[in-house]
Amino acid sequence: MTKGDKLLIVFVLILSLASMGYIRKQGLSNKDKYVSIQVNGKEIKKIIFDDAIVGKTIPIETDHGYNLIEVGDNEIRVIEASCPDQIDVKQGYISRIGETIVCLPNKMVIEIKGIDTVDGIDMMNY
């Protein structure tokens, strides 16, 4: 093991750790996700996070009930609902891809989805 080897190991270590940190930071940004609001299985609204709509409220009024949704900074929550149990209101904010708020009596689902650019082959095709 020469000095060059050690230098190479240290260099690769630093490079990979630094880029890992960078990727993690990038992963938390709001670039590739959107909110999908579905009622009775059909998507009725899509919201892409933006600084301009922070704090706005969106009423969802359908035959199945009424919900008021508030958009925060990269997060979203339900602040009012016509359902008896109010579980969706108590759940608070969701922000990560894959998280959902479900209001069963009103048949409403709020889901944060990733914008996928994959087509054709499955991700795990190793």
Binding site: T2, I9, V12, S16, V118
Partner: protein
Amino acid sequence: MKKLNKMLFLSVLVSVGLALSVLESAIPLPITFPGAKLGLSNMVVLITLVVFGFRDGITVAMLKSAVLMLVTGSISSFLYSFSGAVLSCLAMYIGYRFFTKIFSLIGVSILGALAHNFAQVTVATIIMNNLRIYTYLPFLMLTSIFSGYFVGLASTYIIKNLKVSFNILFRG
């Protein structure tokens, strides 16, 4: 006769590499990460490069991944391993030929592992048409330090002994 000897020796090396590849897939790794593996068969390529030279080294590397496809039967992993084998062979040759003063075999083998991972991720990106696959690269780079270190260490010992039997085979 010497040519035949060499051919036989190279085919033995290829089959040893195949056996190592099959064997290492049976070894459970503490991390389950697609693409991370021990790369024991890289040892064979490195040894061939050092003992026989570049042309035989890249032949062994290409043959190994082509026959491994027949063993495992998965074509998608053949694409990854073939591109990885060619690029890692190139990187190790450059490392061994021009930077011997800076790197020992350990450094050379780490370079090869890095090149292998880079080629793998690049091919995956092209196949899946998704640039975000490159986020795997830092993790793979970390694993390639460990696997490269041990492969290089093992190769140093093997080459020391192999050169003796090599002399008996081809010059005796």
